[in-house]
């Protein structure tokens, strides 16, 4: 394949460069977008089509130990959605948690070219990296769980912040991760150590440690900022899923004290009401706070009706959900680092809580003043499969469709929200922001999410269609690093994506402190724990430490 | 004497060690062709350590030697009528039923066999 290409006649949506639907050429050379290419360069005629940067997903569960357990225990779900191979592509299984190759191809079919796996304990780093390597097409990276790390808890307990920061940096290097992930900080310790108890408020004491979740949150937000990570601490707040949790969410955002932090699937943390009783919407309170605090970014974690799987490092949450319906349930404890719970789930239109969650997600989208800081996700597969993105886009872009859908949901729940009063419709430009430009910017991926000169030539071309769900369901052309791999909706190649990691500097002396901790409390040898450089190929994204 | 007993194929450390030396080596063959029988069952059948016995399951039969089963020191083990043989080609030969009941796994730890012995030397050589 020639390394140069020109896309002509397409309407370009490139919000990072303020191009909003203009018809102009995109020139590609050696995988990058360039100023110009020779006149005889092969062309793609995008007449009547919409050209956007490849989609960027900031938060999905696509690989690693819990994803794989969720795959393994749902044969009944894969069975009716096989993913046949083609001359160019591998086969696989679909369903709510597709196999790795199928995940890549299906994301790519939607026009996505970069996806971040949202939560993996560092002990399983090799596992997630192997799976990511087998996830077709996409560029990817993963967030490493640190909110329940016993060693870090100890450093924090002793107030040894310098060592804390060095240890975090060591862990990021050892696990080849992209950023720090917090899931219900302190909660897993309660769960594993105190007979399945949980922690609700961020100022409660963590079981067997003399610290609170707030201290963990603050320390990790600061560390991510100090280390200059391209994406700040990525936080799944405490108290997720419980009525009245919006105060915890506000407390968590305040704990950032003006420094950069990302709150993930914030919809699940925007509930009012009394604990144990029906939730209410606090989308406005959450939106107001975010609108006023530019240091905070979030992704929505929209709930979509239909099948989902709750799979989370928040083990007590999965246990709570198990009591809703005694379905098959997985729990997996990871020594010194994390917990995990998995349970198949279904969001139903007639159920009060499910409707409320659906409506709150849409409220958050529609109330966001700055779409650059409130980006699209379903927390796949927790709020629903990523295959729902096109439908979600239509809900955002098409007020009439939204009203029509709202007519079929639980009205009591719906009317307790302000969804019907929100008339806003997203433009294509705004969709390009929340699905590409903003997540790329929030991730600090400078070559992604835009079509300016020097950007990676990850490009999606959609047929323009009034029904936005149809339009975003299958891209007509998709390019990765300048290689056309979907042509007229069919795969014509199977390019291999990259894995991104960060590698912040740290004082090597911290290893002398971590090693004895491993000897005592881990089941693997300290020297075998860091992922070897030969394990998989990764690309290091630079960090810019705060001086 | 002939009796019906339950044969439970099992793993032993010795078998594991011999496995590493090679499955075609004598140590492995010896370990996987020695059946362990509770002392009181041995006494009833008139068996001594090293005696040869015939095990029959369906149409298949094998000849193995026997030894008394070592029991836990602290507990009273009441399991009689159960004999144990380390996994190997001999225990597999007695797995005559390949039915896995839709699991992929035959009932390989629960084989009903006829045990006959002690065998005369010439018979066990043949």
């Amino acid at each position: 394949m020639s390394s140069a290409l020109r896309i002509v006649n397409g309407k370009i949506y490139d919000p990072a460069n303020n191009i909003d639907g203009e018809v102009r050429d995109i020139c590609i050379q050696d995988g990058k977008i360039v100023e110009s290419v020779p006149g005889d360069t092969p062309k793609i005629d995008a007449h009547g089509m919409v050209v956007m940067p490849g989609g960027v997903d900031i938060h999905s569960h696509i690989a690693g130990p819990k994803t794989n357990l969720a795959r393994k225990f749902q044969p009944e779900d894969h069975r009716y959605d096989p993913h046949p191979g083609t001359e160019f592509t591998r086969s696989g299984a679909g369903g709510i948690v597709p196999s790795t190759f199928a995940t890549g191809y299906r994301f790519a079919t939607l026009g996505y070219t970069t996806v971040m796996e949202a939560a993996v304990p560092p002990l399983s780093a090799r596992h997630v990296l192997e799976e990511l390597e087998d996830t077709a097409i996409l560029d990817k990276g993963y967030y490493v769980l640190m909110g329940n790390n016993s060693f870090l808890h100890r450093m924090l307990e002793k107030g040894r912040m310098e060592e804390f920061r060095n240890a975090v940096a060591w862990w990021l290097n050892a696990s080849k991760a992209y950023t720090i992930k917090l899931v219900c900080p302190g909660g897993d310790e309660q769960w594993k150590g105190d007979k399945n108890a949980t922690i609700n408020q961020i100022d409660e004491k963590i079981h067997s440690f003399d610290i609170t979740p707030r201290q963990v949150i603050k320390a990790l937000i600061d560390t991510a900022n100090d280390l200059g990570l391209p994406h700040p601490a990525h936080i799944h707040c405490n108290n997720l899923g419980h009525s009245g949790n919006y105060t915890t969410t506000l407390d968590t955002m305040r704990a950032a004290e003006g420094r950069k932090a990302h709150i993930t699937h914030i919809q699940f943390n925007s509930y009012g009401g009394e604990p144990g009783k029906n939730p209410t919407s606090k989308a406005k309170e959450i939106s107001d706070f975010i609108n006023e605090n530019p240091n905070i970014s979030a992704d929505v974690g929209q709930v979509m009706f239909g099948k989902s799987v709750s799979m989370t490092a928040d083990a007590p949450l999965a246990w709570m959900l198990r009591h809703v319906k005694e379905r098959k349930w997985i729990n997996c404890d990871t020594e010194c680092e994390s917990g995990c719970g998995i349970i198949p789930f279904e969001y139903q239109q007639n159920v009060y809580t499910h409707t409320l969650q659906w409506a709150i997600g849409l409220e958050l989208f529609l109330m966001a003043k700055d779409p650059w800081r409130m980006v699209l996700s379903t927390d796949h597969p927790n709020g629903g499969s990523f295959l729902n993105y096109p439908r979600l886009i239509r809900l955002l872009m098409d007020r009439d469709f939204r009203k029509q859908e709202a007519a079929a949901v639980n009205q009591k729940a719906l009317l307790s929200t302000s969804l019907l009063d929100l008339d806003r419709e997203y433009s294509l430009q705004e969709i390009a922001i929340v699905t590409r430009a903003a997540p790329a910017r929030l991730l600090g991926l400078k070559h992604k999410g835009h079509l300016g000169v020097g950007a990676d030539a990850d490009i999606t071309i959609y047929d323009e269609h009034e029904n936005r769900e149809e339009m975003f369901k299958t891209a007509r052309y998709v390019l990765k690093d300048g290689h056309l791999f979907i042509k007229n909706h069919e795969f014509c190649a199977d390019p291999v994506g990259r894995i991104y990691q960060v590698a912040p500097d740290y004082d090597k002396k911290i290893e002398d402190e971590i090693r004895p901790f491993f000897d005592e409390y881990y089941s693997v040898q300290f020297d075998n724990y860091p992922v070897f450089d030969t394990h998989v190929e990764t690309e290091i994204v630079p960090t810019y430490p705060v001086q | 004497m002939t009796e019906t007993m339950l044969l439970v194929p099992m793993r032993t450390a010795k078998q594991g060690v011999a496995l590493n030396q090679g499955k075609l080596k004598d140590a492995y063959k010896k370990e996987t062709s020695t059946v362990e029988i509770k002392q009181e069952d041995m006494d009833r059948l008139g068996l001594k350590t090293g005696d040869r016995v015939r095990l029959r399951a369906g149409t298949e039969e094998v000849i193995v030697s026997c030894k008394p089963r070592k029991e836990g020191k602290k507990v009273q083990d009441t399991a009689t009528g159960i004999i144990f043989l380390p996994y190997g080609p001999i225990s597999s030969a007695l797995m005559t039923d390949g039915d896995t009941a839709g699991t992929g796994m035959p009932d390989s730890k629960h084989l009903i066999v006829e045990i006959e012995g002690p065998l005369a030397q010439e018979e066990s050589d043949g």
Partner: protein
């Protein structure tokens, strides 16, 4: 991360090496290697099985790298013949993988996809039923370090780790001190449930002897008690365990802080199989209403867990997978190797690092004798003897690097001790896949 120190000429010491004999995958081996003789002379920290594993995997350079019909051939000739057998087959079966690295397993599944073959690991005759239990009812589980740090209640049910996984007790579960288990063994209660006493019984505080074939009923009885019910006398009749013993067992399980049920083939290889495993998983789930409880199958081969893991991520299913229709399907009993062979369905087989000719049921072995087979093994086995194409391979972990998954799904790296003149599984699989692709292209 320099792991080797030259102690004296031609002697190399490899620290933090990994033993891949059993599912414990201990990674704290210190190997002394005689590079001249190409053998490991000492394996510090290894158990009796591990010591044998390291001592006995020297290299026999007199063995041919490949044979066809028992005659020595070049590697290329053998790869070509193997590719032809597999491409010409209508129902090729690829089986084994549990003594192979995850890198080789990934390539194996790729080959199966390319061939539209059937692929299955030794899981199907090991903890396959446990996997089916997981599919039915889920499982609460853990990594081994959390057992070391927290478990004050260890149950060994239908397994005998003292013989089969010696360091499961000494290194991970029973003896070590942990974060919340400051006194090690003294802070833990060990319960052994089995049809007979074993060497594991010797380390247990409580031994419960269950009638052969009635584990399910005993598990069911425990579940009833844990869920607040009462037992009728039939439980005693059927399980051979007195009611007060079952009650005592249930109350011990409920009153611990962090309990774990390790279990083995005593459940999965006996009548009830997958549902025995389900019952145990459900018991552990029920116990979580009272305390924290987890289960862990004590898995056998070094990387059998990796085979499940790799197949799950590439195909969605852990074992018993068929690609005949161009996409993976999973059906234990239908696409598991024992069944396929017993029904006489396969017309060729590729056996990677396992020995079904020694382990399978008689009718399966009878069919395998009739079809062309390809074998990958470091040592001669009944399977390699019966194979039309037999490859001699380097031993994973001893000669080849890569990754294996411990019984708790934790990936562990390998640090080879010395080089083998023989290729690794992956070294053969890669050109084999390439050759298969060429032959398939030529077909169209």
């Amino acid at each position: 991360m320099d792991s080797s120190v030259a102690a004296e000429p031609n002697i190399r010491v490899v620290k933090n090496a990994t033993c891949t004999f059993c599912g414990c995958v201990c990674d704290d081996m210190e190997l002394t290697v005689d590079l001249d003789q190409k053998r490991i002379t000492k394996a510090k920290n290894a158990c009796v099985l591990g010591k044998a594993w390291f001592a006995e995997h020297s290299v026999d350079e007199s063995r041919p790298v490949a044979m066809i019909e028992g005659k020595e051939v070049s590697l290329d000739e053998a790869i070509d013949e193997a590719a032809k057998i597999l491409v010409n087959a209508r129902f090729p079966v690829i089986y084994g993988m549990s003594n192979s690295t995850s890198e080789a397993q990934r390539e194996t599944v790729k080959m199966a996809d390319l061939l539209s073959a059937n692929v299955d690991s030794t899981s199907s005759v090991c903890h396959g039923p446990t996997g089916m239990g997981l599919q039915g009812v889920g499982e609460p589980t853990t990594t081994l370090g959390e057992v070391k740090n927290r478990a004050d209640m260890i149950v060994y049910w239908g397994c005998n780790p003292s013989d089969c996984h010696p360091r499961l007790s000494t290194h991970y579960a029973v003896n070590p001190k942990g974060m919340y288990i400051p006194n090690g063994r003294k802070d833990r209660t060990v319960i052994n449930v089995d049809v007979r006493s074993t060497t594991t019984t010797n380390i247990a505080d409580v031994f419960v002897q269950v009638k052969p074939g009635s584990d399910f009923e005993l598990l069911w009885g425990l579940r009833i008690l844990v869920r607040g019910g009462k037992l009728n006398p039939a439980f005693e009749e059927q399980t051979g365990v007195p009611i007060d013993v079952i009650e005592n067992l249930a109350s011990r399980l409920m009153s611990c802080n962090y309990g774990i049920l390790f279990f083995g083939m005593g459940l999965t290889m006996t009548r009830g199989r997958h549902y025995n495993a389900s019952a145990l998983h459900m018991l552990a789930t029920d116990l979580n209403e009272h305390t924290h409880f987890v289960v862990k199958p004590a898995r056998g081969h070094g990387n059998v867990t990796g085979a499940d893991t790799v197949m799950s991520w590439q195909t969605g299913y852990p074992f018993g997978i068929n690609f005949n229709r161009g996409y993976p399907r999973h059906e234990p009993g239908e696409f598991t190797t024992t069944d396929i062979m017993c029904r006489g369905e396969a017309d060729a087989a590729c056996i990677i690092a396992s020995d079904p000719m020694a382990n399978f049921a008689k009718p399966a072995i009878d069919h395998m004798k009739k079809i062309p087979m390809i074998s990958f093994d470091p040592k001669p086995t009944p399977t390699s003897q019966a194979a039309r194409v037999a490859f001699t391979t380097a031993c994973y972990g001893i000669n080849t690097p890569g990754t294996v998954y411990r019984m708790d799904d934790i990936p562990i790296p390998l640090r080879p001790a010395f080089e083998s003149p023989f290729p690794s599984d992956l070294d053969i699989l890669k050109p084999l896949v390439k050759r298969i692709r060429e032959l398939k292209r030529a077909q169209y």
